[in-house]
Amino acid sequence: MQPGALSKALKGGAIWGFIVLQLIFFSIAGEFLALSDKAFMDYENMLLLLKQSAPIGIIAMGMTIVMVNGNIDLSVGATFAIAAIILLGSMDMLTGTLGDVMVIPVAWFLALAVGTLLGALNGLIVWKTGVDAFIVTLGAMLGYRGIVFMFNGENPTSHLNWTLVDYAEAQFLGLHTATWFLAGVTLVLWFVMTRTVHGRNAYAIGNNREAAVNAGIRVGPHMMINFAIIGFLAALSAVVFYSESGSVNPNDGQLYELWVITAVVLGGTRITGGAGSVIGTLGGVIAIQLLRKGLGHIGADTSTVNLVIGLILIAVLFLDRQLNVKGKEELKI
């Protein structure tokens, strides 16, 4: 084996190894500590876990391509909330005229269109002003959240559409609707990033922007497309989630950006761009959800869960550095 091959293999498979470790740990620890006497590795429980991963997971796929491109988007949580309000609000207003069924595609379309536009707006600003994406989307995060509060003040927006609820709760081949959406989005983004010119150029830009410019790649439009994609996916995530729950609070989606970024980084995407994969991100998303659920299973409260996830994130970044140092003769930087 070549030097470095081991570390590469480790890195590629690390997140999945971590997931297996967690499964073993929680199954065993659950025997002694669990509050319920249901086994952790229960089939139903695992299906539920995948379903619960979907809202974060769908957005994380978009974050992967944005981060590989060398940017970041902090506004996804707020976009998520806006899309949810558009979805439920428009159903509330239009059900009278369009009827219970016809209102669904219209409301979905409106929510997705608004999400895409908000994302594209971020991208356009980053492109045209040259301001760092971190700053632009930090502003957007505050601004978009402000818009959410303008809709309905502190009050929740609610509307239950039973046709939709039936849809959302359906299971096809065992998997929930939300899980299917996650799987579909993962597949599409995987295709975009590994098979299309746009995806490959996104890698090139994140890797060495100057080289990309020199080669005539139009950096701005690529970035804007990626921001539009993540805006669309944030809205899609809202559409999938709120079709079932039917009620959105103006604070919903807060801290989503942090969970999403954590999942993407755990999944091996480089923070500075240029490297990363959608499959790794899927691993990161599942690992986080497992951790939340598993720690809950053995009786930890939310604050402990956050602490543990934070520590693991730091440990992962540290390990990543160590694995990259291939041997003693290697340059120490």
Partner: protein, 503 residues
């Protein structure tokens, strides 16, 4: 030659940047099938003029004429579509991507739905790589290649289209001799196909070996064009810098002091083994060998960047363990690294801050930086090294390639180390500044510093060193004094041919 129509003609090109008139009425033409050298000091405007040709910059005034008509290049892809290929001075590659993706960067072949046509991409790339006789394939990750091979990937880009003109901006700076031969073959092939070639280099021997005509720039202005066969090094130098240079070998010796640094049986895995040498105060020790002979790795070990697997390092007679660059600096060892962009500079920072970076701890006035002292240091070395910049506030990334190198050298000289190690100090530096840097290194030795110079250029080691260590694939073959060394026995030593008389 007058009846042949040029493939490309520049007329009165002017290009200004804030504070700099980089090109001031440049005109010259390139004929089909000729190799046209572009020469000039660092910052003369060579790269800038090529970026104008390659569509990266728009000229403020002037015209580019191809064939009979005036053309406007609105971007690199447009220039490429018109048949102008530009091989950049600095590596312009995305390391995480494959060789094939890098060679076709910006114009990956497409199928329906914006998909990449991988089959076609790999097929074309493999055909090009075969021509270049390289040891890697289309799917190799570029980041896993050596710098020299990465340069070959750059060069491969010249073969992707039916080029009318190919621009090589200092392509040989990091190539080994074997790869240089391949490059010159590629150039000869292109030439035979009637492609016009613009070749930028500071290495005179290459210029006189492969070019047909030489155009010289000075401070962005056109000085003149000469036929290579009717001129010589001295006259070209005169055109470039307006004076003659002393290119003689080093004869003067300084008073030698104590042994400042001694290395005994130093090894580092497979990189090099059983290396022993010493360097005295007042002495310049040259390390000569082919790229990859292990010289840089020795320097990195001495600077605390690598852990030796065996052997001792003695500073002033005392055995030491150098655990980190900070440790090395504290002990008075400085390294001017080979890869200036990656290791020596913060491109986004201004000139002054880059130069005083290793000294920030010493330059404090209370909790604040002593601004005045920093500027003073910068001014001193700007004059000494003739660094061309509108002022210390300029971002280093905007300087010309050679001037960036000078900032790195200034940075370490301003530290006043006991042992100064310089790795390829004049790569990409023009002949005038080259001899300034050589003088400076000799001067430092005269002041009692111990200086180690690593170089792949024979005239350079011969010129600056008191003694020369010849290396071949990780081993010291022989140590010469400047009296006994000749070009022949030096070449023998670094090619691994053992000379019987040597001992």
């Amino acid at each position: 030659m007058t009846d042949v129509k040029p493939v490309l003609r520049l007329e009165g090109i002017v290009k200004t940047f804030p504070g700099v008139r980089a090109l001031d009425g440049l005109s010259f033409d390139v004929l089909p099938g000729e190799v046209h050298a572009l020469m000039g000091e660092n910052g003369a405007g060579k790269s800038t003029s090529m970026k104008v040709l390659g569509g990266i910059y728009q000229p403020d005034e002037g015209a580019i004429i191809m064939g009979d008509e005036q053309v406007v290049m609105n971007g690199p892809l447009e220039a490429k579509a018109k048949g102008i290929v530009f091989i950049h001075q600095e590596l312009s590659l995305a390391e995480e991507l494959s060789v094939a993706e890098n060679i076709y960067l910006g114009e990956l072949p497409r199928k329906s739905f914006g998909r990449v046509d991988w089959a076609l991409l790999y097929e074309r790339t493999d055909a090009i790589l075969k021509k270049l006789k390289v040891g890697f394939n289309a799917r190799t990750r570029v980041g896993d290649l050596s710098i020299a091979n990465q340069q070959m990937v750059e060069i491969a880009r010249a073969l992707t289209v039916d080029a009318k003109a190919v621009i090589f901006d200092e392509p040989t700076a990091s190539l080994t001799d074997a790869e240089k031969v391949v490059l010159f073959d590629v150039i000869a092939d292109l030439q035979a196909e009637g492609v016009g070639i613009i070749y930028i280099s500071h290495r005179m021997e290459e210029i006189f070996k492969i070019t047909d005509r030489i155009t010289v720039l000075r401070d962005g202005q056109y000085v003149g064009t000469v036929e290579t066969k009717n001129t010589d090094e001295e006259r070209v130098t005169q055109m470039m810098i307006g004076r003659k240079l002393d290119l003689s070998r080093n004869v003067s010796h300084h008073e030698l002091g104590n042994v400042a640094l001694e290395v005994r049986g130093l090894s580092c895995g497979k990189l090099y083994s059983d290396v022993s040498f010493e360097v005295r105060r007042g002495e310049v020790l040259g390390f000569y060998g082919l790229v990859g002979a292990g010289r840089t790795e020795i320097a990195e070990t001495l600077f605390g960047l690598r852990e030796p697997s065996a052997g001792q390092i003695l500073l002033d007679g005392e055995e030491v363990r150098i655990s980190s660059p900070a440790d090395a600096i504290a002990r008075g060892i400085s390294l001017v690294p080979e890869d200036r962009k990656g290791q020596g500079l913060v491109l986004g920072m201004n000139c002054r801050d880059n130069m005083t970076l290793p000294q920030v701890d010493d330059l404090k006035a209370g909790p604040f930086m002593a601004e005045g002292a920093e500027v003073a240091i910068f001014d001193q070395y700007r004059d000494k090294l003739d660094i061309r910049t509108p002022g210390w506030k300029q971002r280093v990334g905007n300087l010309s390639g050679g001037n960036q190198q000078k900032i790195v050298i200034g940075k370490w000289l301003s530290m006043h180390p006991n042992v100064l190690i310089v790795d390829e100090p004049t790569r990409g530096i023009d002949v005038g500044s080259k001899s300034e840097i050589h003088k400076l290194l000799r001067g430092l030795a005269a002041q009692g510093y111990a200086v180690i110079v690593i170089s792949s250029e024979m005239p350079e080691v011969l010129h600056v060193s008191d003694r020369i260590v010849a290396m071949y694939s990780g081993r010291v073959m022989r140590t010469f004094t400047s009296e006994e060394v000749t070009e022949d026995n030096l070449i023998q030593a670094i090619s691994g041919l053992t000379d019987d008389r040597a001992a």
